[in-house]
């Protein structure tokens, strides 16, 4: 039996809505097959909120074991460090989370808000919020970067806005079954964050031959002009499809880089920033001169079927 407590802080509830869509494994499977006992989940628990208070007391008093603490939402510290823009029974959620993390074997940040601050931390960050162990890209959030949970891991960041449903349930399944979890430099499980959104996008052939859309609602690549951050964003969106069906880029919506610590970027999200005619942000690790040479050769090599955009993405 693996006990799990789920708390929402400065949250929209999107990661809860997302995990309800998980199918591999599903939430039901986590309970039936992985013996996860959901002590409390704000959208699902049948008991009244007084049950949550009893649970918290018991956990703090070391009378209730807490294997996995899941936090959904930005950690709100305002106003003036009090955290009272996000209160719970007269105290700040921030202080409650601070106490509970010390009692959990594992702490999991569900979504970009709990991982790095997310959308609520976009300028001017009216509530002075941040992530559990990061403040955007800066190490250290509510907890210092050196902090470790009882099992010796830092906060596990399943970023995404919302986090991918199956990235969440697979991670929880791995923790419940004691499978090893390797983390990247941003403390995200490598299994779900070691490839780019660009991998698997059905517009790839347009990208390859430099057939770049200038307007939305078309079939080609959106990287050059329409703000797509697929080539610079680590996530499984195009290799483990959303809702078993699709992804933003397949549906003609640019990737907004929502798994990255700096999401949302402080710029036009639907337009590619350029230096002259060249995107400011190139695919991860690519050098500018090489990239431009490759692109002009690619365009020269483009077959008609690609130039004519006859293929549906």
């Amino acid at each position: 039996m693996t006990t799990l407590l789920w708390l929402q802080t400065g949250s929209c509830g999107g990661d809860t809505m997302s995990i309800l869509c998980a199918d591999s494994p599903s939430l039901e499977e986590l309970i039936d097959e992985y013996s996860i006992e959901m002590l409390w989940q704000p959208s699902l628990s049948i008991e009244p909120t007084s049950r949550l208070d009893t649970l918290i007391e018991a956990i703090i008093a070391d009378q209730q074991a807490l294997d996995i603490l899941c936090i959904e939402g930005s950690i709100i510290t305002g106003p003036n460090g009090s955290g009272m823009y996000d209160p719970y029974r007269g105290r700040s959620k921030m202080s409650l989370v601070g106490e509970l993390v010390e009692k959990a074997e594992y702490v999991v940040a569900l979504g970009t808000c709990a991982s790095y601050g997310g959308v609520h931390a976009a300028p001017p960050n009216p509530t002075d919020c941040l992530g559990l162990q990061f403040d955007k890209q800066s190490p250290g959030g509510l907890l210092p970067i050196e902090w470790r949970s009882r099992k010796g891991l830092p906060v596990i960041n399943i970023s995404g806005c919302p986090a991918h449903p199956n990235a969440m349930t697979k991670t929880l399944a791995m923790l419940a079954s004691g499978l090893p979890l390797e983390l990247d430099h941003l403390n995200r499980p490598k299994a779900f964050f070691n490839s780019t959104v660009h991998q698997g996008c059905t517009r790839n052939e347009y990208h390859e031959y430099d057939v770049e859309d200038t307007e939305f609602g078309d079939k080609g690549c959106m990287f050059f002009n329409l703000g797509c951050q697929g080539p610079v964003t680590m996530a499984i969106c195009n290799t483990e499809l959303w809702n078993g069906r699709s992804s933003k880029t397949r549906a003609g919506v640019p990737c907004f880089g929502c798994t990255s610590p700096d999401f949302p970027l402080d710029q036009d999200l639907f337009l590619t920033e350029k230096i002259g005619t060249i995107p400011l942000h190139l695919p991860l690790g690519v050098e500018r001169a090489n990239y431009m040479a490759y692109k002009s050769l690619a365009h020269e090599a483009a077959p008609d079927r690609v130039l004519n955009k006859t293929m549906d993405p």
Binding site: L20, P42, L44, I46, D86, G217, K248
Partner: protein
Amino acid sequence: MTRRTIQIDLNRVEGDLDFQLELEDNKVVDARCIGSLYRGFEQILMSRKPKDSLVITPRICGTAQLNAAVLALEHIGRIPVPPTAIRIRNLCLMAETVQSDLRQSFMFFTADFCHSKYVDRPFYEKARAAFLPFKGSVHRGALEHSRHIVEIIALFGGQWPHSSYMLPGGVTTPASSRHIIDSLSILNKLTRWFEQAIIGTDLDAWLAIQSADEFFTWLTAKDTHADSAIGLFTLMSRDIGLHNTGFGTPHMISYGAYDDPDDAGTFPPHRKHLFKAGFLNGDTGDIEPFEQAEITEHVRYSWFQPYQGGSPSVSGTNHP
């Protein structure tokens, strides 16, 4: 005269919401709902590009306010939308509504029938068999099938929740033959389950019910009707007297829903809706025109700093 305040916490709501009741001599004299979380979306949106609102605004809530954001931009920019785009938007919005209806009813609401205080009611065992979270057949069915219906939104929008496929002027994905047949397949499968588990009859027979009397006749006509999720929901609610409890005002308002694609040529907010806006006068039973201007908002009922005028439609700056 005794006056006291009762605090009511709710779980299984989307968001943070508390209720307070003021009682005088055990009679409710005032009630307020309280949103206790502040995140500052208005400040975050200031100085951003208009289309960024299609990404930021939906993060108010996990189920997305994308439609409101795009209509606002089309209203401001006088941007026309083709009828097909309205149909695609409606398809996705309707799929989202079905998801919400299933989860709201059979995961968030009916779970309460399993409460131990009802252990002596005749329905208790059936309630637990149907509605117990993760164990009850209807709870599990609603969870599974609410996942499937939003696949329609994924076809046109890439994912659910949080996609941004509605842009000023239309949608990002056309209605290809594949998407249409896929959507029909999803809808047909959901309908078969809905008929079997939720209404216990076929959809045409269900839609033919036109009055409360006809509904109650239908309910007791067959076991499959009474044992359907809607049957159990009705019988259990009435058994504990929910139909006699908690009436506040008899009046209702609606802003309407689903833009009429045949009225695509009219800009929001005056475009006609498929589900009409209106004010239901609970005293007369008449449906009167809906007048948004008659809804008053005042800053004193918020956590924001007071300002001249006090009404956000005149001039609002939302500083806590």
